[in-house]
């Protein structure tokens, strides 16, 4: 399977969004070469702004540019776009329901060797709590491209989380995000594996391993954390009787939080997190860090087994 960084798909999507809508502009905070959006600068030089290393100003200015009638896309590393500039996102963007589209790059453990300062493990939580904010977490480059275009079609603020390192290309280039916020990748009635973002391939690997053990795991890729595909997830969980949530993000408030909120409101089956457990990251290659934080296929299989046990479905 070929590998490609999701950030490349994001930039493909940015370019297509700008071609489709003349109101689209891009604001960078000195990471355009890192994300790869210098391609945008080359094609649309008059619609590209670099505000330097000042993420708070980037978000406030984006709000002002939206008030002027533009549709600003902004991007920085997720830890800064969502974290450092959070109150600007909250008060200047979300409170006025402005169409500012935020790209959170190098999210999760994909920032790898850069270490804890640059690994956003809290961004999903702090973005999804904001009223009116849409939160998209594409699984690969194809979905990242589609997410950028989906952000353009969203009327209000939107946050798109994507990683740095190459990940398996699961969805084709030029794909669109389907309706409903999620893709059912595999069906199965024994355990539901819910994935968001870069962990999808590990979930599919775990599914294959469990199938060899005679266990049918459903795998759903949730690309929209907000709005959350609660009905779909509840119906899959009801059939499976238990669920696990897999995401390189803190347990608290991220995919696991969204899943738990959905389940307790209509399908209270046992659910376990396969997420980062209340700790900061460290330097290392992303694949090593995924294993270190228990996010590999082995851990997913183990957690699926434990969830089934709690549901009284042990194999």
């Amino acid at each position: 399977m070929s590998l490609r960084p999701s950030r490349e798909g994001w930039v493909d999507g940015l370019l297509e969004a700008a071609r489709r809508d003349s109101r689209v502009v891009l604001i960078d905070a000195d990471i355009s070469r890192s994300v790869g959006s210098s391609r945008f600068r080359d094609e649309f030089p008059s619609r590209w702004v670099n505000v330097g290393i000042s993420e708070q100003d980037m978000l406030a200015e984006a709000a002002g540019m939206a008030l002027a009638g533009l549709v600003p896309f902004v991007e920085s590393y997720a830890v800064f776009a969502a974290g450092r500039a959070w109150e600007h996102v909250r008060t200047s963007v979300c409170h006025m329901r402005l169409p500012v589209k935020i790209g959170g790059a190098h999210a999760g453990l994909s920032a790898g060797p850069d270490g804890a300062t640059h690994q956003a493990l809290e961004d999903i939580e702090i973005m999804r709590v904001l009223p009116g904010m849409t939160v998209l977490v594409p699984a690969d480059a194809g979905q990242a491209e589609a997410a950028a275009l989906s952000a353009l079609e969203t009327s209000g603020p939107c946050y798109v989380r994507f990683g740095r390192n190459p990940v398996p290309e699961i969805f084709p280039r030029g794909c669109r995000l389907g309706p409903g916020g999620a893709d059912v990748m595999e069906e199965g009635g024994d355990v539901l594996i819910v994935s968001s973002g870069a962990c999808l391939q590990a979930c599919l690997d775990a599914h294959a391993r469990r199938r060899r053990e005679g266990i049918a795991a459903a795998v759903v890729n949730v690309w929209s954390i907000k709005p959350f595909p609660a009905e779909l997830v509840r119906s899959l969980a009801a059939e499976a009787g238990c669920a696990i949530a897999v995401c390189d993000h803190q347990c608290a408030g991220g995919l696991f939080g969204a899943l738990a909120e959905a389940l307790v409101q209509g399908c209270p089956v046992p659910a376990l997190p396969v997420c980062v457990n209340d700790s900061f990251g460290t330097s290392g290659e992303p694949e090593d860090l995924f294993a270190l934080h228990g996010l590999g296929a082995d851990s997913i299989v183990e957690s699926a087994r434990e969830a089934m046990k709690r549901a009284g479905r042990s194999h």
Binding site: S54, A60, G69, H88, T91, S92
Partner: protein, 277 residues
């Protein structure tokens, strides 16, 4: 579009009217920020009646000038000036801060669409104003953006991020005004965290700084004339008196926020009515 400079009435009389409005609004609300509202009155009257290219009968038109009240807590003054300018009925002013009111405790554009921006989290409004100026310029509009900040607000780091960006981008359509009343919630600005040397700070960031007497229409008018012909982002440093117009509220942090009691209200009314004559 109607030019604000035409059809001007007696600005001193308008300032007195606005101060009375502010007093009655805060009294009816039971809370608010009288000190920083009173210090900003002449600045706002000058902008909305004598300076900005605006049309209250068509508040959303593209080529209007924009105004952002970055020191959003002074919104009683802004609401009064906009009502007296014709944006909405002044009878609405006494709903300030009440449940269901369009006149929120800090400006809310979704509820009151004639506002050019919501504001109130100090420092953010200035960045929004810079983005507005940049965006209008990118769209080829010749509108000017005015943004009123407090001097205490300049302690926010994001103000200087925006100042640097605006200067680097050469946003000559952006005019900041600093309401230099010298007092913030906890005390005197110079005691808590000095923002001096003020003009030098702005100049070193690439801005054209113009001093003004913030209670003199003549001084403000010539300062804006100079600022807007500078060809770079410009700031009017308007020296003001916190609580201006009510002697017991002047130059004290005690009236940064608060509501006068019945006796104080009567005294304040009397002083405002007598003060401007």
């Amino acid at each position: 579009m109607q030019d604000s400079r035409s059809g001007c009435l007696d600005p001193a009389e308008m300032a007195r009217r606005v101060r009375l409005d502010i007093l009655e609004m805060i009294a009816a609300a039971g809370s608010g920020h009288p000190g920083g509202s009173f210090s900003a009155v002449e600045i706002l009257v000058e902008l909305f009646f004598n300076r900005m290219r605006i049309d209250p009968s068509d508040p959303e038109r593209d080529d209007r000038d924009r105004f952002v009240l970055s020191k959003g807590h002074a919104c009683p003054a802004l609401y009064s000036v906009m009502a007296r300018r014709g944006y909405f009925d002044p009878s609405e002013l006494v709903t300030l801060r009440k449940t269901g009111s369009r006149l929120q405790g800090h400006p809310d554009r979704l509820r009151l669409p004639c506002l050019d921006s919501s504001s109130g989290s100090l420092g953010q409004g200035f960045g929004v104003a810079a983005g507005l100026a940049r965006g209008l310029s990118m769209l080829g509009l010749d509108s000017r953006v005015y943004c009123l900040l407090g001097d205490g607000e300049l302690q926010e780091g994001c103000v200087w991020e925006a100042a640097a960006c605006a200067a680097h981008a050469g946003l000559s359509n952006l005019t900041a005004i600093v309401d230099c009343n010298g007092i913030q919630l906890d005390g005197r600005v110079e005691d808590i965290q000095s923002v001096e040397p003020l003009a030098l700070r702005w100049q070193s960031f690439g801005w054209h700084a113009v001093p003004a007497d913030g209670h003199s229409f003549r001084s403000l008018g010539s300062a804006f004339d100079e600022a807007e012909s500078s060809g770079v982002p410009s700031v009017v440093l308007a020296r003001t008196v916190k609580g201006r117009g009510v002697s017991f509220m002047e130059n004290t942090c005690a009236w940064h926020g608060g509501c006068p009691g019945a006796d104080q209200l009567a005294e304040a009314r009397r002083e405002i009515l007598e003060g401007g004559r």
